[in-house]
Subunit: 161 residues, 2 copies
């Protein structure tokens, strides 16, 4: 069934980053859904993405392994795609693993929305949390700074592809 | 995108109940996806279902409120549909709430599969867990007895609709 329920973000529970990026949304979609592209912009520098796996279908794996410059800190995230509308919307969660298996460490569902705005794209990244405490914690961890930096890196990167 | 990843059940992590039910799968689908039907067979008697809400789309709510005969024990489960293939497959999880919001209390993803077998239906109910301990706990809680009773109640109920 194609009709999917995505609720309007709840300011108490969710965090939303919005930008207009000077690139067509098809290019942003490609950058988001191709492992060799994702590695180039997905984590705020000087951290790097050392591995990325994408199985682009509902229930499929979205894995990103990020590490600090000295390699001592590692964040290896195994997520599950939920909703995929090419060039328009990408939804995944770390509450599930591939094949929809519940994970042991649920934190967010993420929604990337791409809407055309002239020749540019309105880029909206939403983080959906289970409760106010988790939302607050994520904000204090630096959501806007981190996801903002990533959006900047993405905007810069797609100029070259 | 229509292609969905469902992994083969893992005996260490998952529990599978299989039956052949003497009814066409369209009827079983209707019984599974209509609140007034679900109320009649979804919980092992003498427990009853007092409320059922169904928003039959990916990200939509599947809620069942079950209570003991004396009304003192209540199990009000809010789940999220993940994959819906009419007359064939229904997948939901309690790791997410409607709109794909992570829940605070993830336990299982459930898959109901309906395959025609002559005029009857091969009915397969799979419970997918995050780890071996959760699978073991679910088995000890009485998965086979409980889900088996529910399958019997379903088979009996659909004779009358």
């Amino acid at each position: 069934m194609s009709s999917t329920l995505l609720l309007k973000p709840d300011p108490k529970l969710d965090l939303v980053l919005e930008r207009v990026i000077d690139a067509p949304r098809e290019l942003l979609w490609t950058a988001w859904t191709t492992p060799e592209h994702v590695r180039q912009w997905f984590t705020p520098k000087p951290w790097i993405v050392t591995d990325c796996e994408i199985d682009l279908r509902p229930g499929g794996l979205f894995r990103t392994r990020m590490q600090s410059p000295d390699g001592k800190e590692v964040n290896d995230r195994h997520c599950c795609y939920l909703d995929i509308v090419p060039n328009e919307r990408l939804v995944w969660t770390d509450a599930l693993l591939p094949g929809y298996r519940p994970s042991g460490d649920p934190f967010i569902t993420a929604v990337i929305s791409l809407q055309p705005e002239g020749k540019a794209t309105r880029y909206t990244a939403t983080a959906i949390h289970r409760d106010e405490a988790t939302r607050k914690n994520h904000e204090e961890m630096g959501f806007f700074d981190g996801w903002g930096t990533v959006a900047d890196q993405l905007a810069e990167y797609v100029k070259g592809i």
